[in-house]
Every structure is written in C-alpha cells, then in structure tokens.
Amino acid sequence: MAGLHKSEFENPVVNWIDTRLPVFTMMQKEYGSFPTPKNFNYFWNFGALAMITLAIMVATGIFLSMNYAANTSLAFDSVERIMRDVNYGWLLRYVHANGASMFFIVVYIHIFRALYYGSYKAPRELIFMLGVVILLLMMATAFMGYVLPWGQMSYWGATVITGLFSAIPFVGESIQTWLLGGPNVDNATLNRFFSLHYLMPFMITGVVFLHIAAIHIAGSNNPLGIDVKSPQDTLPFHPYYTAKDSIGVCVYLLVFAGLVFFAPNFLNHPDNFIPANPAVTPAHIVPEWYFLPFYAILRSVPNKLGGVILMFSAIAVLFVLPWLDTSPVRSTRFRPMYKPFLALFVIAFFALGYVGGLPPDGPNVVIGQVATAYYFMHFLVVLPLLGKLEKPLPLPESIARPVIRRTPDFSGGGGGPLPQGATAKPMEKS
C-alpha cells in the first residue's frame, strides 16, 4: 500500500478513487479551501468567465463540426444547412460566433485587470506570460475559425493576413505557399485551417491549466497589490468566491444571451453572408472587431514588413512587460502619477480599434499612427521611467485591516519605508 494517498473523504466510492488518484483531494485543496484574498473586486471574476467561455466554445464547436463540411464547394452551404435544417443549429452557430466575441471581451478586461493591479509583476511574471501565450493561441484560433464559413470576409481576410508572410525577406514567399498549401487561399488552406482550429482550443486548455497551476503557486494578486500576510487576509475559495463568481456568470450570460438571441449579427460583417468569390474583392476588408487594434497598428506603417513586425511586436512587448515596469508598487491604486498614463493607454487602444475598422484615408491614418506611437511608448518609455520617478502613495498594513475598518488608512500606518511585503520582491517563505 506504499505510495497510496491517505484520503480524508468519508464516502467509500470517493475515498476509493481518491486513494488511487487524489483528484478529489486536489479539487478540495485547489478550489474548495484554497486561501484567496478576501478583498477581490468583480474584476477578478473575468478569469473564471474566460474559462466558462472556453468550455462553451468547445462544446458548441464539437456539435457544429458534426455538420460542417470543410471543402470550398460545400462549406458555405453546410453552414446554412446548420442554420436552417439542423435542430437548434442556428443556436449552436450564433452561440459559437458570438462566443468568440465574448471570449475576447472577457479576456481583454481580464488583461486590463492585470495591467491596472500589477498582477504581471514578480512573482507572477510566468502567469502573465502564459496568459499572453493563451491570447496568441486565441487569436490564431479565432482567425482560422472565421475562415471556415467561407464567406467573402473569410476568404479575403485570410488572403490579406496570409499575404503578410510574403513580407519576410528571402523566405517569405515560400513560407506563404507552404502555409496555404498552394499559390493562394483555396481548398488546401480551408481544410488545414479546420484541422488546426479544432486542435488549438485543446492547446489553449493545456496552457490554461498551466496558467492556473502557476497562480496557485504564487497565490492570487488583489486590488491593493500587497502580499497576503496571514490567514486573516484570506477566505476559502468555496463558498465565498464560488458564490460571488456565480453572480458574474449570470450577468455575463445575460449579456451573451442579449447578443445571441436579439442581435446575433451585430458584431459580424454582412459581407460574410456572400459566398467567397476570388474574383470580387469587397470594398473594405475588415477583420473581426477584436483584431481591429492590431490591424490598425499593422496599417500605421507604410512599409509592409515594417507593419508586420510592428503588429507582432505589439503582442511581443507584453511578454517582457514584467521587466519593463520598474515600479516597486503593484496596484495603480497607489500610483497616482501612473493612472492618467494607463487611462491614455486604454484610450489609445480603443482609438486603434476605431480606426482599424475605417478605410485608411487621411485623418484615420494619423490617428492610428499617434495611437500606435503611444501604445509602444507606454510600454517602452513610460513604464520603465515612471517606476523610478514617481512617488507612490503609502500602502496599507495588510489586506485584513482595510476590509474590517472600511476606510483604508493611507496617511498613517507608517510614514517611513514601505511595509514588509508591499513591494514586488520574490515571495519569501515565512
């Protein structure tokens, strides 16, 4: 009996399984009683919402693929067949299409939380980097998924984006041909995109598992950005955060339902209801809304290769963010000088999204270039410099004290050096 886990569960069936494979103990430890900071606000709900969205996307995707045909002569009609003939096919399709948008809304807000509260700072750098990997995989999955209905935007969006690879000097054309399986986007491309679109969400699931495992090593951040110092600062995840998260889930599903049932094509482009036609280019080729900021960055450089490099750099810069930000303080709540810059970053991101959807004429280009400039300046100039120059507000003693007192003590506490654990140093074992 050596090596068997000593299970504390009373139910004999559960106990039998748990001794041989301690999944129940693990669930109890990692989700049941896991000590979670007690001061989470609703921004902390969005990770769970992202996980639920992933589950919804996989479920609807599997059932859609029972009726989808990944062949250029059949794809468009097979999607229409799903919409018209398959029982609840229209529901599966609209949930899946709008689910992609919901996934990005939720993930963008989730990332904003990390930026605002410094969740990417030590010791959570790897958690953040895994998150960026998830974002990249999501973007690849969404891009390939949009090609599958084989509408005009599917075809031409694929043509434009895969065309970017030819910008790579010397090997660009060969890489593009290899990617497409031919000289242009055609049946070979559609088939492999379907295969990879089916595969990638499972890769995402794996990285999500790593992402959460890493969180459970360092522990969650919290709105104050200070470390947990004692059990008084935490609550068991169940029932406190299962209860709180379920509110968020219901509100999220309400928004989702509003889209799916009453405005299912609001975020979609009408041109994608026209079957793909290689001989007719749409007046304006526009990617899905969640790609618009990056599309704007791509178009802000007149040089094709430059635009491609800048677009990929916009994501790449996120990987090194933990090292770019020099502030010893995590949460923007205590960084009054940084707040307006972060606000400016958000405005720049929205501005990029806005011009990304418009034709690249006149003022749109200038706005795009200015916003792109600020995007990179924010990461490469503001974050490194500001951390050294600004004077952060004094941090509270602990999480438990501000919660019980209701009015956080910002002036007293300690006029001298910052309290132990407020700075983003690697966790020390107590």
Partner: protein
C-alpha cells in the same frame, strides 16, 4: 503560500460567522434547483441537434405515382437509400399468391398480410435480398424472374414469388414490406 496552516484557515472560516442554517439552506436549494434546470435546458439543444435534421426527415418518405405502371410491370424507387420494388401484379399472379399453401413457404406469410386490402394488385417490397444484400432481378420484363414468377437473385440463387416471399434459399426470409399508405387511388406514400 503553499505553507498556509490549514488549521488556522479552518479556524478563520468558523470565526467569520455562523450562517443562519434554515434560510441559507432554502436559498441554496432554490438556487441549486434553478441552476440545475438551467443546465438541463442547456443540454437539450445539443442532444436534439444530433437527431435527424429537417432535410434528412424530408427525404425519409417518398410519394410514388402508380399511374404509369401498367399490369405485369414493376419499377424500382429509391426510399431511404434502398431500392424498393413496386409491382403491378396481374390477376393470375394475385390468385396464385393468395392460394399458396403455408407448407410450401420457407417463411410463412399470407399474401393478404403483405398488401393493402382492396389494392391487392400492388406489391411494395424492399428490393434487397435477405441472404447477403444483393438486389434481386425481376422488375424488367427481360429479367429472369425465377421459378415462382417473382424475383431471382443472381448472387447465390435465392428465388422469391410474386408476393415477395422467399421460395428457394439460401435467403432465410421474405423481402420486407415497408410502411406505406395509399394517399389516393394512384399514389402511395412510402415511409
């Protein structure tokens, strides 16, 4: 973080406050039950989407116009992917089929049980040999019909009579009669 003392955590939980059991239990029950209804109704569209789709159902029955089929002739229609023989039997064929004694039949069945009352001249059977699945010959006037005036299977020599009943093996059973009904004197709906 992983060194958190579980005992003190448990202590922290209990010192946070004792909930009102009855009120919380009812609320938990109500919420749990409503959530279960929600999840259940979520599952239904997935399950239902796997049932035959509307276009599949639309093809699951066919209408056949019997007018063009003259006496002694037979046609082959395709129903649910299977060849289906429709024969307009002559009066002699009907009489012979009706008077065949059971002892002569490998798979006993009366002719009356295989046709519609008042329309005995029409025989509708699935044209797939019950031995190993070949399509028996006998619909075209030039086809061999075997010794019993019905159908002859070229694969292993099974023979059927004009009621579609097996008379000579190796086939074990009669040609199956699909569900069908007369929608008018000259039209039938199969399936």
């Amino acid at each position: 973080m992983s060194d958190i003392d579980h005992a003190s955590v448990r202590e922290a939980i209990t010192t946070v406050g004792t909930p009102d059991p009855t009120k919380r239990d009812f609320l938990k029950l109500l919420t749990g039950a409503t959530a279960a209804i929600g999840v259940g109704s979520l599952a239904w569209p997935f399950v239902s989407s796997m049932a035959p789709a509307k276009d599949v159902l639309a093809l699951s029955s066919i209408e056949v116009d019997l007018g063009p089929i003259s006496e002694g002739q037979g046609i082959t229609a395709i129903w649910q992917g299977k060849p289906t023989f429709i024969r307009h039997r002559t009066a002699e064929e009907v009489k012979l089929a009706q008077s065949t004694p059971n002892k002569d039949l490998i798979d006993p069945a009366t002719d009356a049980s295989r046709v519609k009352a008042g329309k005995e001249q029409w025989l509708v059977v699935i044209g797939v040999c019950t031995h190993l699945g070949c399509i028996p010959l006998g619909n075209k006037p030039s086809d061999p019909r075997g010794d019993f005036g019905g159908w002859f299977c070229p694969c292993h020599g099974s023979q059927y009579d004009a009621s579609g009943r097996v008379r000579h093996g190796p086939a074990p059973s009669n040609l199956p009669v699909p569900q069908y009904a007369f929608t008018s004197d000259t039209k039938i709906k199969i399936g």
